[in-house]
Symmetry: C2
Subunit: 142 residues, 2 copies
DNA sequence: ATGTATGCAAAACGTTTGCATGATG
DNA sequence: CATCATGCAAACGTTTTGCATACAT
């Protein structure tokens, strides 16, 4: 019921917003740039939706905790993913851009301990591993 | 002997390069944006050094492993720090911008294990904790 | 009917680049 | 003296914003 998510965020239910949310929900890629979303909108749609609107809506969704914005070390485009409320970190392939999520409770726990030791009130954290996935011989990666 | 570092990087020893390196070495802030460096150059100097040069030099230093560039999740300006060859991660205060470094072997080890489990050749990683340092009552933070 | 959202174009931002000049080895 | 580095201004890619119009409630 994605329309409720929009309404609960205090936002009016508009075509751009429902479409963008649906794209985030149904796209095979969980991590998309604003341009990724924009390109999909251009493709499967008649009514024009401006790139500026995509940015605006994604920013609003972020403020509403509906999506999470990442700025991976590339420093280039931000990527957005639907917030499924299951915290996770990321492995990013430096060759293909492929992103895999993981969660490790030992690391999480250590972070809390380290923060505590430094008198640091932990609000958020980001852990990203950069490297390359070793392809299994027969598989073609994209 | 910072001039050797520059020479070893295959770079000519020029005023901008020695000054920028010295700023990185002697500034009380270990983590500086290009603009931070630029502003210091403007202040304590007569001969103009262009912001473009600061970016160029920092990028060259990065390629020579003299400095490390970070793009913290802010997505705004990159920050540069001298590479002391002691890997560490960062705690960033979301209120003051203060940065504290830490290193935790348990986390490092877990990362290697996770990468291995996923058939991921680990090249680099970035862990940043975001939060607030609890001030001790008498201390004025800056 | 009111207020909010949108498209468009232009601006803003951090960073990079082309080019003619200047300094280094 | 050949090469590399620099300053300047202009380009760049991403993201934001001003404004007049259009839509949701």
């Amino acid at each position: 019921m994605n329309k409720n998510d929009i309404k609960n965020a205090g936002l009016k239910i508009t075509l751009p917003r429902t479409k963008i949310l649906k794209i985030l929900e149904t796209s095979e890629k969980r991590h998309m740039t604003a341009e990724d979303v924009y390109r999909i909108l251009l493709a499967d749609d008649k009514g024009t939706i401006a790139l500026a609107t995509v940015y605006r809506v994604l920013t609003q969704f972020e403020a509403a905790d509906l999506v999470i914005r990442h700025n991976f070390e590339s420093g280039q485009q931000a990527v957005f993913e639907l917030n499924n409320n299951e915290h996770h970190d990321h492995m990013v392939c430096i060759r293909t851009g492929k992103i895999v999520e993981f969660h490790d409770e030992i690391i999480e726990q250590r972070q809390r301990e380290i923060a505590k030791k430094h008198g640091f009130k932990l609000v958020d954290h980001a852990l990203t591993l950069y490297g390359e996935f070793e392809e299994s011989p027969k598989m073609n990666k994209q």
